[in-house]
């Protein structure tokens, strides 16, 4: 198999529920080693799409390949190539953490002789080593989530599908999750992550895929990688004049008022930002702050979805 082949290749995927069509001929491919944020409103078809890729649902038509394996023809072989973390973790509460990991490892065909080492490695990676003899039912939500991720990673799948992985986690656990995503990406794992919390996805996504009403609206690299970052300018006083002022400055684009500040894209460096600030002050604006806007992905998502709505109208 050529390593240049995409990690996930989906072609003309159609999935029907009895009362409605959930996926309308969706086609895309996901590059190896990328982290793709799968975003869209509730009911857009994200979970159905992930379940079709994971061969948990059989589509009406279309083709799905993961790591070169035809998931419709060889679903069990395909399961060796993926890890799929559903929003509901599906853990056996009566087992211990060690038993749970052993069960997952053997279920993915890991040789019994290697099982112990594999389980210890993944437990260490997910900070579960101290909990090996704890009963799963007694774990906190964050610990359960780490165990669920450990189970999906235990066989070192090249492709990882995550459906709302941060749902219900506290801020610290979310931060750890983001760190884990970056680590997995550095290890060459391809991630396809569905989430509503776009600010979080923005921390580690390389690509974004927007799905709406079962149709793929857009797939593109996330702009914070190399593109102009978004800045947030806070001004003490009225904001109506601010977009005009900042867009006159070279390198500034797409300025708009949002949540008591003006958000705009700016491709300058630190020196450029200093010059921009000076220009704003000299224009008579009472500047009270300039920060990088974190919700890049959300901006892009909203921009694309709103554009789609306008087209629909």
């Amino acid at each position: 198999m050529a390593s240049a082949a995409p990690a996930i290749a989906v072609r003309d995927l159609v999935f029907d529920y009895p009362a409605h069509r959930a996926l309308h001929g969706v086609s895309f491919s996901v590059a190896r080693g990328s982290v793709t944020a799968l975003v869209g409103p509730n009911g857009a078809g994200k979970t159905t799409l992930l379940s079709c890729i994971a061969a948990l649902l059989r589509p009406l038509s279309g083709a799905v390949q993961v790591d070169g394996v035809d998931m419709l023809a060889e679903p069990r072989e395909g399961h060796r190539r993926i890890g799929y973390l559903k929003d509901f973790y599906g853990l056996y509460d009566s087992l211990t953490v060690a038993q749970s990991l052993w069960h997952a490892a053997r279920g993915q065909g890991i040789d019994p002789a290697n099982c112990r080492g594999v389980v210890e490695r993944v437990a260490a990676d997910l900070d579960l080593a101290g909990l090996m003899q704890a009963q799963v039912g007694a774990l906190s939500r964050g610990q359960r989530q780490r165990l669920a991720i450990a189970r999906t990673l235990v066989h070192r799948p090249p492709v990882l599908l995550l459906d709302e992985p941060a749902s219900g986690l506290d801020p610290e656990a979310r931060h750890d999750l983001a760190a884990l995503m970056r680590r997995l990406q550095a290890d060459g794992v391809t991630l396809l992550v569905s989430s509503h919390i776009l600010a979080e996805l923005a921390e580690y996504s390389t690509d974004m895929m927007i799905i709406r009403d079962g149709r793929l609206l857009e797939q593109r690299p996330v702009s914070h990688r190399g593109d102009a970052p978004l800045l947030r300018l806070e001004v003490a006083g009225p904001l109506d004049r601010v977009p005009d002022v900042v867009t006159r400055f070279p390198g500034v684009s797409v300025a708009r008022v949002e949540d008591g500040a003006v958000v705009f894209a700016f491709d300058g460096d630190a020196r450029g930002r200093a010059a921009l600030l000076r220009a704003c002050v000299e224009s008579g604006l009472a500047v009270s702050g300039l920060t990088q806007a974190g919700a890049t992905l959300q901006d892009e998502y909203l921009r694309r979805v709103r554009a789609g709505e306008e087209q629909a109208w």
């Binding site: 029907d16 009895p18 409605h20 069509r21 419709l72 679903p75 993926i82």
Partner: protein, 446 residues
């Protein structure tokens, strides 16, 4: 070790259970020993027999019947489906693992059944009784797993209340061989069984029969497990099972002029060799059973038609509703009845077209927009069509509705088929119209 089996062993064979079970059994059998007057082993064997039934059949079938449904309800089933275990590994692990504790209890009891029985019969016979009982338990437990897999594969979301009492399926199917088994343990094996004109030792025949049906049950589990794991199933297994059941039933009514015949009287004419008729009846009965049990969701049908449209015959066959496969089998037997000049030919042909009509009614209701209770509604309409309506019309007109509303037994093949065929065509035209209107095109966007 199979990881799924290992998981069950962790959960089922806890240290507490491993210690408590032998202690309780020892207490029970000590009490029996002390209360016996010289024939203690025989009494212990009898008590052991009932312990095996209670634990192996009642508890064991319950354990297997929850093997899949409990996982669906607790949200762990999708993780199992994402493993790379084969359907066979998953099936046998669940079959052996879910009731592992019941076998831990039953194994010494089965030994006691053999030892106790040996005090009043040949040791080989006593051992055969224990083996037969063990096989019946296996059959009941396999039926429990089959029911569990079937319920999990239904289109409607699984509700906890619908999974309750599922083990009754295992219990009910185990009742006939259990009744024979209990009676034979105390009264002896009984007279020979005549099947396809051959005499069989009754114990051996029941053992082979239960073994064969248990094996078919495991095949059914394997098939449903494969479907759960998104693997394709050819319709060969179901076809094989129907043919097996047809042959099994035919064997009882086979008459080659030597052994006493099982005579069936139809319209005053005695059918001495009713083997074909029995095979026909079994095929249709299984067809009706599958018609109600199988998924009839429009999406599966649309997928099958799409496969057919693409010329993917194999894929289309894999999606073919299994009840349709009984039609050609029953049709072949009907043709044999006609060629044979059997007095049962009219009944065979007539019941075939009425089955086609009934299948159309079931499908028509299942393709409606409100499909939640379609099968129950179809059952009600069939009861009305076969019971109430003919009775009212017969009472009002004094004319039998045989051949008009239910299968005819006399009057010739073509006249017997005509009314049912017209009704079947009419119903299927309605089905086609409903399909075209509601389901043939892509559904609305969600």
């Amino acid at each position: 070790m199979n990881p799924e089996l290992q998981r069950y062993l962790w959960l089922e064979l806890t240290p507490h259970r491993l210690v408590a079970a032998p202690v309780i059994l020892a207490g029970i059998f000590t009490l029996v020993w002390l209360g016996s007057n010289g024939d203690a082993l025989d009494h212990m064997g009898t008590v052991a027999y009932w312990v095996v039934i209670a634990v192996g059949v009642l508890w064991g079938a319950r354990a297997t019947s929850e093997a899949v449904t409990s996982e669906v309800l607790e949200g762990t089933w999708d993780q199992q489906r994402l493993s790379s275990l084969s359907p066979w590994s998953m099936t046998w692990a669940k079959l052996a693992g879910a009731p592992a504790f019941t076998w831990y209890v039953c194994a010494p009891c089965l030994a006691l059944v053999a030892i106790g029985g040996a005090t009043r019969m040949a040791p080989a016979d006593a051992a055969a009784h224990a083996l037969l009982l063990g096989l019946v338990i296996l059959f009941a437990q396999a039926m429990g797993l089959l029911a569990s897999l079937h319920l999990a594969s239904r289109e409607a979301p699984l509700a906890r209340r619908s999974a309750l009492g599922l083990h009754v399926v295992g219990l009910v199917t185990a009742v006939p061989p259990l009744l024979y088994s209990v009676n034979a343990y105390h009264q002896g094996w009984g007279g020979p069984v005549v099947w396809f004109g051959s005499e069989w030792h009754p114990g051996a025949f029941v053992f082979l029969s239960v073994g064969a049906f248990a094996a078919w049950t495991v095949v059914g589990c394997l098939r449903l497990m494969g479907a759960e794991l998104q693997l394709r199933n050819t319709p060969l297994a179901w076809t094989g099972f129907v043919v097996f059941c047809m042959a099994y039933a035919a064997g009882w009514a086979w008459h080659d002029g030597r052994a006493p015949a099982t005579v069936i009287e139809i319209n005053g004419v005695e059918v001495v060799d009713a083997s074909l008729l029995c095979a026909h009846g079994v095929a249709l009965a299984l067809g009706y059973g599958m018609l109600f049990l199988e998924r009839k969701d429009p999406v599966s049908l649309r997928r099958m038609l799409a496969d057919l449209g693409r010329g993917s015959v194999r894929e289309a066959l894999e999606g073919l509703p299994l009840w349709t496969l009984t039609l050609p089998l029953a049709g072949a037997v009907t043709a044999a009845l006609i060629v044979d000049g059997s007095p049962a030919a009219t009944l065979g042909a007539s019941s075939l077209v009425f089955f086609a009509r009934d299948a159309g009614i079931v499908m028509f209701l299942n393709l409606g927009r409100r499909r939640a209770r379609a099968d129950a509604a179809a059952l009600l309409y069939l009861v009305l069509l076969y019971g109430l309506v003919p009775a009212i019309l017969a009472a009002a007109t004094g004319v039998s509705m045989a051949g008009w509303l239910f299968p005819d037994v006399a009057g010739g093949v073509l006249p017997g088929m005509s009314s049912g065929a017209v009704q079947a065509v009419a119903v299927w035209l309605l089905v086609a119209a409903r399909w075209t209107r509601a389901w043939a095109g892509p559904p609305a966007a969600g």
